[in-house]
Amino acid sequence: MIHECLIVGGGLAGLTAGIRCAEAGLKVAVVSGGESALTFASGSIDVLGSIPGQPVVRRPFDAIDCLAELSPGHPYAKIGREKVFQSLGWFHGQMAEVGLELGLASDCRENQWRITAAGSLRPTWLSQPATKAMPWECFHGDGACLQKVVFVNITGFLDFMPELAMCGLKQHPSFRSVAVEHFNINLPLEHGHGATADTMRAPQLASAMGDRDMDILARVLSERVQDAELVVMPACFDPDLGCNRLQKLRQRTGLNIIDIATLPPSVHGLRLHKALRNRFRALGGFLIPGTEVRHGTVDGDRVMSVSTGEDLLSADHFILASGSFFSKGLQSVKESMSDPCSVQEPVFNLDLHSWADQPKDFSSHQFLAPEGQNFVRSGVALNQSGQPMVAGKGLHNLHVSGAVLGGYDPVQECSGGGVAISTGWQAAENVICQVKGQQV
């Protein structure tokens, strides 16, 4: 059987593309080498929160026009704001189909605020149900709609640091007059086989907690928190798709409790990954794990096959969603210490965004440089028709999506999730259009 579409990469972009292809009735398979960045993800979908030189973005889709003017090579600029909106709305519906109800602001074109484990506020568009992002008005300007926030950790758990979160949050102008406190709760960890929280990662903690632990949490929280409008805990309650235990805890205590992604592995990120896989399989897609694509064979303007080094995989269309440096979708090469770093796309050696217009170096010595790290913006460039190129020549049946694309900075812009989804969706739409076009 020849697949109509073969997708390289099983992360957010690849699986989104796979779901869209499968939904349109295409024979589609996703080939995946290892784990994707979803293992580290917050599980919320940030679309656009910041544009250089502009105030923080409240209406992300409207801001795409402005972004496109500033950086015409941005992946959003190629897709256009209405299609970005359409793709993300579609994604929201797909996740709901498998029981993951991601939260929208009441005005669905607006961002909301999510609190991170470092205590910063990030503009996000879709939030995990358990994280319950807060409306924009909550923290806009100097005022905040809260008087008191309490961070609560499980004693010993190292991957959530309430003191750090507290300090971070206090730096936000809206929180100057807000009381922020923290405390720990000691739990016996009913299913922990005697191990303590300090040796566990968040998913383990989630499985170690039993009914007795939930009883203790409910009792201590009710006793110690009376007047806080918000209680923030580490995401360690519901490893599966719903948020039943947290919901129950909210009901029992009457408190507004949210749980937020911890240091990796992230329970929310893993949940999103599971929802994506479930949806993809339910639509008849196949996921091929443990299979790393290394080379692609190009003939003229067509990709003929990709290879793992041992096996050839043929298909009519290919979508490259191989991720950024960490996922090996991009590689940095430095011949010697004095040479500048160069970047390569290792499968097809695709043309990348040029550095010529970048005055800065490959990376800044300041880790959290305010202008961002330049290498983050490197990646595959697309031509006017949205095609990737090899030596300037566009490829007809290869479509590129997600973090392997260049021309944007997911960290600075708060745009990683939105770019992965909209470019994954767009790549799938291109394939669907070409496949159905041939059928007519």
Binding site: M1, G34, E35, M200, R201, I288, E292
Partner: protein, 409 residues
């Protein structure tokens, strides 16, 4: 203690742990640590722990015994750290290596199978009796809730004799490493493999002799025995290739991973003369199909759910099995979400691991029951035992299905 000096063995040690970035992708995929939170997970037991164990063996953590060796951590690792191998080696090097009868009985699969020769019905009856199970549970620590795989009345090697002579009629020949399970428990799978290859005009030979591949031996601390078997099997593989077989094929995903990759990597047994010509059967068949050597197939009107074994994922072989299943006409195929079944060879037979094994497999069992499939399909014999014991479904090997598509009316 000087923190910057290594103990004696450190210099020649596998240093793949140095590549660890501490990203925890491995820990996110460990099936054991979710069910047993007292198992600190692959990152801590593998690369982190190894760094310490090199300073002093006192840092050996008893929890390493919970590792099943599924290798999902290695698939997840972006830096190719051989996490599971590090753990397996540390268990052997620093763990309790005293002789244990239970471990001996569970791991010497060829010896145990050989002992049942001629008495399989009696042995099957006895091992399925409640008093026997209680006795094995109390006396040996083999969990009484576990069902034992039934031994076949006639071994594969004897059954094969009836078809051996006609194999030489085929111009092309491959040698089949059948493994213990096919020989003593599931000769039908071996015969199906012969049927399928013969239909593709390829003759099947057996190795002149073979011993257990060594997977259960390594898992139970019998590394020296495993190494001896590795040398034995490798030399018979060499002999087979020298006498005209073009390839060694195996129908067990774990045996083939062992023969091909773990002999040199884990046991230090050189197999470069044969390594590239050892294939898991679906890899070989998918290659033949693609090259145009595809037998004529009739529709198999079944609804099946495919479970990918951990060791096949690690070997990059899921692709080949799917390619074959996609090619079977009439087959309604659904893929189960990748989830370890929990048994991990002999691991799940041990009393102290029973709950862990069943806990790991639970999401898989649930998916299978909800799938509405006629059969589960998988490539691994112990996954088959586990799924058949823990769900209402029977399990077929991809080769069983291919044989059906040749034989069905």
């Amino acid at each position: 203690m000087n923190l910057f000096s290594l103990n004696g063995s450190g210099q020649n040690h596998d240093r793949s742990f140095d590549r660890c970035l501490k990203c925890t992708a491995c820990s996110s995929q460990c099936p054991v640590s979710l069910v047993r939170p007292d198992y600190p997970g692959p990152k801590q037991c593998g690369p982190d722990g190894e760094r310490l164990r090199l300073k002093s063996p006192e840092f050996m953590d008893d929890a390493l015994k919970y590792c099943t060796g599924c290798k999902r951590c290695e698939v997840a690792c972006p830096s190719n750290v051989r996490i599971a191998d590090i753990i397996a080696t540390a268990k052997q090097k620093y763990g309790d290596n005293s002789f244990k009868l239970r471990e001996f009985l569970l791991s010497h699969t060829d010896l145990m199978g050989g002992l049942t020769r001629g008495s399989a019905p009696i042995v099957n009856k006895i091992t399925s009796l409640k008093p026997t199970k209680i006795l094995m549970d109390r006396g040996l620590g083999i969990d009484q809730r576990r069902s034992f795989p039934a031994y076949a009345t006639k071994s594969f090697r004897s059954t094969f004799k009836s078809v051996a002579s006609r194999q030489e009629q085929h111009a092309r020949k491959v040698s089949y490493f059948h493994g213990c399970f096919v020989n003593f428990n599931d000769p039908q799978l071996g015969m199906d493999l012969v049927t399928v290859l013969n239909a593709m005009n390829i003759g099947v030979r057996l190795l002149q002799k073979e011993k257990c591949c060594g997977v259960p031996l390594v898992a139970n601390g019998f590394h020296d025995k495993a190494r001896a078997n590795a040398e034995f099997n490798t030399s018979f593989c060499e002999q087979a290739l020298e006498s005209g077989s073009e390839r060694i094929v195996s129908s067990s995903s774990s045996c083939s991973l062992m023969l091909r990759e773990d002999y040199p990597d884990m046991l230090g047994v050189k197999n470069e003369k044969v390594q590239s010509r050892i294939s898991f059967i679906t890899r070989f068949l998918a290659g033949e199909f693609e090259a145009g050597n595809k037998p004529e197939m009739k529709p198999v009107n079944l609804k099946v759910a495919y479970h990918s074994p951990c060791h096949l994922i690690k070997a990059g072989g899921v692709l080949h099995t799917l390619k074959l299943l996609w090619d079977i006409p009439g087959l309604e195929l659904q893929q189960l979400d990748s989830n370890c079944c929990g048994i991990a060879g002999t691991y799940g037979f041990k009393k102290e691991n029973y709950e862990t094994a069943q806990g790991i497999g639970e999401p898989l069992f649930q998916q299978i029951e909800e799938s509405g499939c006629d059969f589960v399909v998988t490539d691994c014999e112990t996954c088959k035992m586990q799924v058949e014991m823990s769900t209402s479904k029977k399990v077929l090997h991809p080769v069983n299905l291919l044989a059906r598509s040749l034989m069905e009316e």
